[in-house]
């Protein structure tokens, strides 16, 4: 009677090990598989947007829930503004380079340096005005609540040009 019970104990131990291994493996494989599939599928739309050439505009569409008509209108506005934005960028670089040269050459605030600083400030004011006008135009093509949120999100750049959006935008829109 005791001999079979020894056998039962030994086979019981191997049974235990086998089942424990099976249960752990099955649980792990299911967990890792579900994690990978879920992460892949849930991040797919954002990865698609990110890979697109006009990713910024597609983000705008996604973030502010634009309809096709709104998106088409805003895209057209954006394309028109892009040319002006490039020209402003060139102008900023030109006045900044001049200011840089004068600051390096002069050792006091000369009338020429003052004039260069005024010109840089004027260029900045023009850029801010153009940016704000574009922001208002874009917001006008959105749903009123989305438009107001868009202006709130972008106004940091107007108050302080060149400021990163991560430091100006916080809260639910990015959560």
């Amino acid at each position: 009677m005791s001999a079979p019970s020894i056998l039962t104990s030994r086979s019981g131990l191997s049974n235990f090990r086998r089942w424990l291994l099976v249960i752990i493996l099955v649980g792990l494989v299911a967990a890792v598989g579900a994690f990978l599939v879920c992460t892949y599928l849930a991040t797919q739309p954002m990865r698609d947007i990110s890979a697109a050439p006009d990713a910024g505009l597609l983000w705008l569409r996604h973030e502010f829930k634009l309809t096709d008509a709104q998106f088409a209108q805003i895209k057209s506005l954006h394309e028109k503004y892009s040319g002006r934005c490039d020209a402003m960028c060139q102008e900023i670089m030109r006045v900044n380079a001049r200011l840089d040269n004068l600051i390096s050459a002069d050792h006091e605030v000369t009338p020429e340096l003052s004039s260069a600083m005024e010109q840089a400030a004027l260029v900045q004011a023009n850029c801010r005005t153009a940016m704000l006008a574009h922001i208002y135009e874009v917001a006008a093509n959105m749903e009123p609540t989305q438009g107001a949120r868009y202006v709130r999100m972008m106004k940091g750049m107007i108050i302080q040009p060149g400021l990163s959006i991560t430091t100006t935008v916080t809260g639910p829109s990015f959560s």
């Binding site: 235990f16 099976v22 649980g27 990110s50 574009h134 972008m154």
Partner: protein, 102 residues
């Protein structure tokens, strides 16, 4: 009746390796931590049907945990991607950011 009882003799036969078997079982049980002993005993005596149900439960639990972790992870990844895309958009309309990135 008394005679019959007096003539009745019990001759118990101890099977070979009985003592070894007892010590073997004691050693086996001592190797297992007491907290796990019930669980171990349960698994030792597990029938294939119960085992596969337990494996199925583990798979379900794994799936639920995996999906939960996946949802949290993808939310974080999507949030980071949205931030990057927002920066990209802002750079496209702010000439000062364009100058800075040149």
């Amino acid at each position: 009746m008394r005679r019959a009882l007096q003539s009745w003799k019990v001759d118990p036969k101890i099977p070979p390796n009985f003592a070894h078997g007892v010590w073997d079982r004691i050693a086996t049980r001592e190797r297992v931590p007491p907290v796990w002993s019930t669980w171990v005993r349960f698994l030792q005596n597990l029938s294939p049907g119960t085992g596969s149900r337990l494996a199925l439960t583990a798979a379900t639990l794994g799936l639920v945990l995996g999906i939960f972790a996946g949802v949290i992870e993808s939310k974080q990844l999507n949030s980071a991607t949205q931030q990057e895309l927002a920066v990209k958009y802002v750079r496209s309309i702010d000439p000062y950011q364009q100058v800075r990135s040149l």
